[in-house]
């Protein structure tokens, strides 16, 4: 078994390799392999895996790349993520990718798909919409059609047919992946000091540029390591961080929250890898339908998804209770309309449930965390001493 510190270091490197070296090497080993880049949040990676492809998460550049041309594509009141992504597209970082999927998040990502089309990046550029109708025969059918478009795009490149058998195999592998991730979160709920939120983040994010089989192996080893004591418990408060589902928070921000005396026991940083709760049915003759069913009936909540009948605020409160958390930090990217528009309603639900909360905003390239640390520190003290 590889030492945990080495796994974490490797995951950190994979998470922030903006040239996607490992993914490109994986592709170059076989001419029928394809690379499909996908933007946050969620995308059914199973269909790419079943087509002998690797779905690679493109989650922005953080503070690791200077934006030169990207700023010319977006107004100043637009978030930072799409600027970094277009910068990567223009500087050749994404050249080996065969196609790109832009899951429906907001107008900025929709426009980004158009820019990729105009710039002719990849062999296909697909805006991937989600059903707003949760009737399987309507919304589910729509979702299946959306997936079929991408399957068609991919087979047009490598001539690999996505069979039911292959897709079921892929679903099973991703079921294991989700189960392992959930297990890590469950262990962290009990023993948050054994793996910090930043380390957890690296391990999850690495999985968006690796084949799922390899990521499962990493997760398995991490779980084994976490059975043993590591680090020492601190008198910290336990919090849920929400609102960072698309543009990713800088590592310094996650560290600052932790250093200010907070254990992050749940978050939505890498929500796409955890969106589907539980297993997707793999004992079926219709795996596409199973994927659609899972999206409609087993999704976690997020500001980007329509939630009629199952409001996000109430689900956030349920999550806080499930994780036995003391409070919530609403941490949204600046100019993130979905997160910021949802915030008042979610705060109201927290108020009703008596859950303390604070909020702040960030850019993926924010470099100063003093104010955030101050806010999180006083929040932690107020709960520890006065709640």
């Amino acid at each position: 078994m590889e030492p945990l510190n080495r796994i974490i270091e490797k995951s950190k490197h994979l998470s922030f390799d903006l040239n996607y070296t490992y993914s490109k090497q994986w592709k170059s080993a076989d001419t029928s392999r394809i690379l499909v880049g996908y933007l946050p949040i969620y995308f059914p990676r199973e269909i790419v895996h079943a087509a002998n492809g690797l779905a690679v998460g493109i989650f922005g550049v953080g503070d690791r790349k200077q934006i030169i041309r990207g700023d010319a594509y977006y107004q100043s009141y637009i978030c930072h993520l799409p600027r970094g992504v277009i910068e990567m597209a223009l500087d050749g970082s994404l050249d080996k990718f065969d196609g790109f999927v832009f899951p429906a998040i907001c107008d900025c990502i929709r426009n980004l798909s158009g820019m990729f089309k105009l710039e002719q990046k990849g062999k296909f550029q697909r805006y991937f919409d989600y059903p707003q109708n949760f009737d399987l025969s309507i919304g589910g059918e729509f979702y299946i059609q959306e997936m079929k478009h991408i399957i068609g795009d991919m087979s047009g490149i490598n001539r690999v047919q996505v069979t039911d058998e292959n897709l079921i195999r892929s679903i099973r592998l991703f079921n294991i992946n989700r189960r392992f991730i959930e297990e890590i979160y469950n262990i962290r709920q009990e023993y948050p000091w054994r793996l910090s939120a930043v380390e957890t983040y690296y391990i999850l994010r690495a999985g968006t540029s690796l084949p799922v089989e390899e990521h499962n192996e990493i997760l398995k080893q991490v779980i084994d390591h976490l059975q043993n004591e590591r680090g020492e418990p601190m008198d910290n408060i336990r919090i849920v961080v929400t609102g960072s589902f698309c543009e990713q928070p800088p590592i310094g921000l996650i560290k600052s929250i932790e250093m200010a005396g907070c254990y992050i026991v749940d978050d939505d940083f890498m929500l796409g890898s955890r969106l589907i709760q539980g297993n997707i049915n793999s004992d079926t003759g219709n795996p596409l339908s199973a994927l659609a069913d899972a999206y409609i009936n087993q999704s976690a909540f997020s500001s980007c998804y329509y939630d009629v009948g199952n409001p996000k605020g109430k689900r956030l409160v349920e999550l806080v209770k499930k994780r036995n958390a003391d409070g919530v930090i609403f941490s949204a990217a600046s100019f993130c309309d979905p997160a910021l528009l949802d915030r008042p309603q979610m705060q109201k639900e927290c108020d009703i449930a008596g859950i303390p909360h604070i909020n702040f905003q960030f850019h993926e390239n924010t470099g100063q965390f003093k104010v955030i640390k101050e806010q999180a520190g006083t929040f932690s003290d107020s709960i520890k001493l006065w709640a």
């Binding site: 601190m234 910290n236 250093m259 200010a260 005396g261 006083t378 003290d381 001493l385 006065w386």
Partner: protein, 280 residues
Amino acid sequence: MNKNILTIGIDVGSNFVKTVLVNYSGNPEVLDKHTEKIRKRNPSVVSEDMIVSMLEKNNLRYEDIAYLASTGEGDLVKRKRGHFYGMTTHARGANFFAGDTKTVVDMGALYVRAVKISENSRVLDYKMTGQCASGSGQFLENISRYLGLSIEEVGDISLQAHNPEISSGICAVLAETDVINMVSRGISTPNIIKGIHLSIAGRIIKLLSSLKGESPIMLTGGMALNKGMVQAIEEQLKETGKNFIIKTNPDAIYAGAIGAALWGGYRHIRLSEKTTTLSV
């Protein structure tokens, strides 16, 4: 086995690390204290060494300490049970010095912070100096070095001033230029130092008035030990016509560490109660 609730508070500042050993049982009492200048060393190593030497000096083991609490740049302290934010600990430290404290002015190396507190040490509101270092202890230390003085001397020298020359209170760079000009114009050292004190005091008064600070005011942090600084604040306050009571304490530099140790004791008891309730 030691039945006392012993706690350690460690305050990692930008210039000094301060540690205190407190007996939290009954009426809390400071048993030991120590300050160490960091002097370009690794603050983590300095902190750990200070904890070890405090334990050794008092014939204690790490396990004898019910709660080791950090404050300031506490993430640099590797061995600890919990961390409290600077304002929270200075509030508690000030309340320990004088139970009737309503406003705390923490005068540290990098900034000055005015904090309004409740009678049970809860932070109600605060204001702090901005980015510029001209209102900080570090600035005062730099100036004293230019003038060939040690930081311990400046308080007494300031008291000898008769005609202080006010320097820029906005920018440390401008203030340093002012001081160079004053030296070349033959202004005496006490008058220069007093002028700087008055300039820093002016910024503190502005903080207090925007905070709507209430009396009594407790000065904490390293600069609170500087008699010249305290006198300058009192003079400036008088000019505003406010009859504020200004208090200091010989242990003012330990206010953060003492506050951390006291909150640590409080948390230890609360956590023990929780554990007892759970086991019942």
